[in-house]
């Protein structure tokens, strides 16, 4: 009877820990936001200086956006794993 109460308490603590971890993992999404801001800001400052060359680099910008966004999504997947699995 005490064992059941102990495992129930252990499960509750584990569940609480998972929820806290899921919230902590969302800091990675903010970090991805910072990275995206740096990327697009640098592209814009270069594009305003040299608009003729900007369109040629647009595919590279989109490629960089996808890679940076992927890191934020990795941390989101960790959060989902903690919440739902």
């Amino acid at each position: 009877m005490e064992m059941e109460a102990a495992t129930a308490l252990g499960n509750l603590i584990a569940q609480a820990g998972k929820s806290i971890g899921a919230g902590a993992a969302c800091m990675g999404i903010g970090a991805a936001g910072i990275g995206l801001g740096v990327l697009f800001g640098n592209f814009l400052s270069g594009a305003i200086r040299n608009p003729a060359a900007a369109d040629a680099q647009f595919p590279r910008l989109i490629f960089g956006f996808a890679l940076t966004e992927a890191m934020g999504i990795f941390s989101l997947v960790i959060a989902f794993l903690l919440l739902f699995a």
């Binding site: 996808a66 992927a70 999504i73 990795f74 997947v77």
Partner: protein
């Protein structure tokens, strides 16, 4: 009978036609069905588009030519003329992943690339090809890939170790990028769609919130279409970059 909105149920694999051979499960699942639909969709688009080979293309042939030129330009830019032998592979990967992602955007349809086993299989194909072709073409000179140019000799062992680790991590990152984008996108869509229902159930006050959640869901669906195309492009582009590493290992 009220069930809480469950964002995970959409990834459940159902056996449509159970087939078991020697204890191994070869069932035709909903994942397999959508892979078949992807190939059927690709064939239904490309075969009629390239049938007539007119010099002045029709709209359909023009769209197929634009797709071809887009991928061919990417391959030629990153790998050079020798890498064009990999163009059929890159085009197939790009179109397969694009169609798999797009099929998943319809309601109640299953997204093939939202399962990690599918993306890992594609990644193992690409990285395996890079390693095998790299050694076949360059012999042991392929290992020059891990030695960047102009590095002071005394930190060279550390740099080589880090380069090897980063090469091995390509397996993880390439597969997980596609999988995570599809998984996270669809879960977010389902969660916000669930908000529409649960806010609307709150009565008159909740209707405003439900409308807001509906607008967010529509905006997210648009974003998901962008991500579907973008992730296919990123996978194809990274494949080209890794193949360039196999063709030209010395930096």
């Amino acid at each position: 009978m009220a069930t809480a909105p469950d964002p995970i149920h959409q990834f459940h694999i159902e056996r449509l036609i159970p087939i078991e051979i020697g204890g191994v499960d070869f069932s035709f699942t909903n994942s397999a069905l959508f892979m078949v639909l992807t190939v059927a969709g690709a064939a239904a688009f490309l075969l009629p588009a390239t049938q007539r080979r007119a010099l002045v293309p029709s709209r359909l042939q023009l769209s197929a030519e634009m797709l071809y030129e887009f991928v061919a330009g990417t391959v030629r830019e990153t790998t050079g003329t020798e890498g064009m032998r990999f163009f059929p592979l890159v085009f197939s990967l790009f179109f397969f992943i694009l169609l798999c992602n797009l099929w998943g955007m319809f309601p109640y349809f299953y997204t093939v690339t939202s399962q990690p086993i599918v993306t890992v299989a594609l990644t193992v194909l690409v990285i395996g090809l890079v390693v095998v072709y790299g050694f076949w073409r360059n012999g042991l000179g392929f290992l020059w890939l891990f030695v960047p140019r102009d590095i002071p000799v005394f930190i060279l062992p550390l740099i080589v170790f880090i380069e090897v680790l980063s090469f091995l991590s390509r397996l993880l990152s390439l597969s997980m990028r596609l999988f995570a984008n599809m998984l996270a996108g669809h879960i977010t869509l389902k969660v916000f769609a669930g908000f529409v229902v649960s806010l609307g159930a709150l009565g008159a006050l909740g209707i405003g919130g439900a409308v807001l959640a509906l607008i967010t869901t529509v905006a997210l669906t648009g974003l998901e279409f962008l991500v579907a195309g973008l992730q296919a492009y990123v996978f194809a582009m990274l494949t080209c970059l890794y193949l360039n590493d196999a063709i030209h290992p010395r930096h």
